[in-house]
């Protein structure tokens, strides 16, 4: 397992980039997980989670 951290201010495109990377890695047969420390979990739709067999963990406080 390798940890990849995507930092930036809110609205900088972190979730959008992560979603894209997950799909690109899935095309290579790689599985991903996501830990979100910001109010962004809803950005990962149920369809997206199901498609990529993805688990999202939400952590509050930053």
């Amino acid at each position: 397992m390798k940890i990849v951290t995507i930092s930036g201010v809110q609205g900088s495109g972190k979730t959008t980039l992560i979603r894209t990377l997950i799909s690109l890695l899935a095309a290579q047969g790689k599985r991903s997980g996501v830990i979100v420390n910001e109010a962004g979990e809803e950005s990962y739709s149920p369809d997206f989670l199901e498609t990529y067999g993805l688990k999202i963990t939400q952590i509050w406080g930053g």
Partner: protein, 131 residues
Amino acid sequence: MATSLVASIKDYRRNIQPDFLFIEPSEMVVTSEMRKVAAMGRRDVSYDSGPFITLMDGPAFPTLWQERQPLLLGHLEGADLVAVSKSDLMDAGEIEKINHTLNDHCRDIIQLSVHSGLGLEEVMKAIVTSD
């Protein structure tokens, strides 16, 4: 936050074992703090750490740099890769100004646009090869 994050990392490593675990920290968490958290978890379980990627919101950068520079510097310091996001929404002159400013604070800067695909190859390369 650090304790919860480390506990979650361990849980993924022990019970789910994905190839890649993406962490999207709160905007108030700076890169040096994330490095400490990643190192903390490695005392107890084994995993690879990196890269630490920082996104700079390209179109909003001038305002953000003026109003929140200490926070942005915290994101920049220690980053393995800095990506100027939404680069497709800026012209060459605006991009050059941002690069000029960022060059004083970090080495590896790329232009990124998830919309157009610009820079994704570099990001993927950093993810797959770095440790």
